[in-house]
Amino acid sequence: MSSASEKATETIKIALVGQPNVGKSALINSVGNARLKVGNFSGVTVKKEEVRFSREGYDFEITDLPGSYSLTDYTIEERVTKQYLDESDYDLILNVVDSTNIERNLYLTTELLSLNKKIVVALNMTDEAVKEGVQIDAQQLGKILGTPCVKTSAVEKTGIDDVIQAIINTYNRRENRFHIQFSEVFEEEITHIVSFLEEKKIKCKISLKALAIKLLREDRETYLRFHEEPIWTELQPIVNKAYQHLYLHYDTKDLDDIFNDEKSALAKGAVAETVKFNKEITQSFTDKIDALLMHQFVGLPIFLFMMWGLFQLTFEVGSIPMDWIDAFFALLIDGTKNFLGETELASVIADGAIAGVGAVVLFLPNIIILFLGIALLETTGYMSRVAFLLDGFFHKFGLHGKSFIPLVSGFGCSVPAYMAARTLKNDRDRLLTLFIIGFMSCGARLPIYVLFVGALFSEEQAGNILFLIYISGALIGVIAAKVLKMTVFKGDDEPFVMEMPKYRLPSFKLIWHTVSAQAMMYLRKAGTYILMASVLIWFASNYPKQVEMDQEYQAKVEQAQTEEAINTLNNELALYKLENSYLGIIGHASEPFFSPLGYDWRMAIALETGLAAKEVVVATLGVLYGLGEEHDEQSRGLIEKIRANISFPAGISFIVFVMIYLPCLAASMVFMREAGGPKYLGYLFVFTTATAWSLSFIAFNLTQMLT
């Protein structure tokens, strides 16, 4: 190939592999300036994610894979990793290892080494290893494993250049040595098979030794490949004889046992030669905290107290900037109208766009506090503890303890929560979890709650009520799980085995990245999707025009005597126009369905538009209740308008409906994909709507009786 220009930069394709929670994503964030999600528990990354960057004259294309304890297909995310390694095209593997827990990590490394690919090992968490007195001779370890080992710290950003250099060197290394040494017995059997394959001049993409190991491991693909060929008649006895020898030597017929033994021995041997532990294992920081947080009696109450505190904070602190934002948008609406006059344009901008977007932006402070709480839960290591504490409770309701993790993500947003359910091994458990994630009120529902709670309850109670809403939502979800488990998802319990990470103090930067990314997403949604929806709702609520009515009322107004009478007439007209707009017509059509729950047509419409996105509910209410009240100077803020227009029982019933009904369109699509088809979405729709309706009906009638 001849090219006139300079030679094109080469692309190095890298598969990022390692056990869960060793800092793979964090390392790539440091190396490639990416913003992958990082958290302190196993199973943060659940689908493969690509990061590209250029350095030292090369293009790097790194695929961040879900963490795997070993190359099995225990859970969906582990299957993703195994499949990628087996089937995709990549130049080398970057194996990230937790230096503080190296023996267990090398277990996976030995498996990777038997794949016979180019590998670079990153000994990550060097900073923690130093603190814990773990001293690793990286050079020596590299010699034993036959592949470069580099010390790194993703948090302190050390060793990053070394990793890049090691990757480039390894990439350019011509041949690929196979370096790991199994036990003597094992090597002997391998050698037998290899020499046979050599004699027969077998050609293979991977080395013959790797092929021999695959044969011994009873690897399906390899068997299928050889099964068809004439050589099999000769090969089979040789492999069989090898098995007999191994069975005899290891005193077991379980091949997995034999391989696990080999891997453990390799890892142990390598650690013995290269790692020094300078400190006695004493009671660690983590142990001390756990003595309290994981205490069998006080552990759960502490968790509940912290949740309660979070919701208090959401309300108390959140409401301070809320007043400013509210005032700001009210000013903006007035300003726009003053500037443009009483025109259609002014109305679509002020009453449509600004009112709708403003209603959503209003709740940004609350959202930030909620996301901050979730980020802390995710990054400190507390998440897995709560999963542990709740496992007994969850188990009673047919849920797996690990379900807790997707369910907590569900409080932020249902979309990643549906994805996070992939960490559940069993399809039934996973489906069950998928079905109840929607019961965990997502961040976008928070504005609706804050609005209604603020309107219906006193300030002192608001935080408690908010806490109650979330808790009862979760409880309803758990009960729903029990019902589903008893009827649809019958079956045995899956084992619950989960690693507990050590506690880590998240850096300010990590928290900032996590929270600001979510806040930006919320704002971006407000500026695009919600903006469009608001304008749409404005049009649907202002058209068709009622010219005749306008004239009729115009005449009446001219005849009216008092200021008061004029106001009444104007309000009457506005209401008439609204009720006969497109939106009014749709709202009235669906009123029979909603009126037993106490909703007027406006609330009905708000719920319906909420199917697109939950933020739209607030935007719709903002537009609808803004319009009819144009002449009422006193009730400015949205909260006051709700208070003036919606009765207490109807409000409560509305909250209950919002807690339970179908998540937004985007989430529903993800649900459909993760659950495995449109029919599941159909089930979810029927299930959630029926539950929402019945419970709202009960709530409405109960509150009506009690008040």
Partner: protein, 75 residues
């Protein structure tokens, strides 16, 4: 005795893992294999779930899984 019978703070050596293939592989990738030393860190209410430590790895498991692990308690 089996792992779930251990008290909080006790340590023990694993003598056998009697689980199906999948679970056994999972255990062994956590380092839970014959011959290792285990520390019992804590129990949840009614001993339904327990946390153990092997070297530096902390693992949560249910009593129903812990039953499958034979141990000999150390002094």
């Amino acid at each position: 005795m089996t792992l779930n019978e251990l008290q909080k703070g006790q340590s023990a050596t694993v003598t056998a893992v009697d689980a199906n293939r999948e679970l056994k592989n999972r255990f062994s990738s956590f380092g839970l294999v014959k011959g290792v030393l285990i520390y019992t860190e804590c129990h949840s209410l009614a001993k339904k779930t327990m946390e153990i430590r092997i070297n530096k790895t902390r693992i949560a498991l249910r009593a129903s899984e812990a039953e499958k692990i034979e141990v000999v308690a150390s002094e």
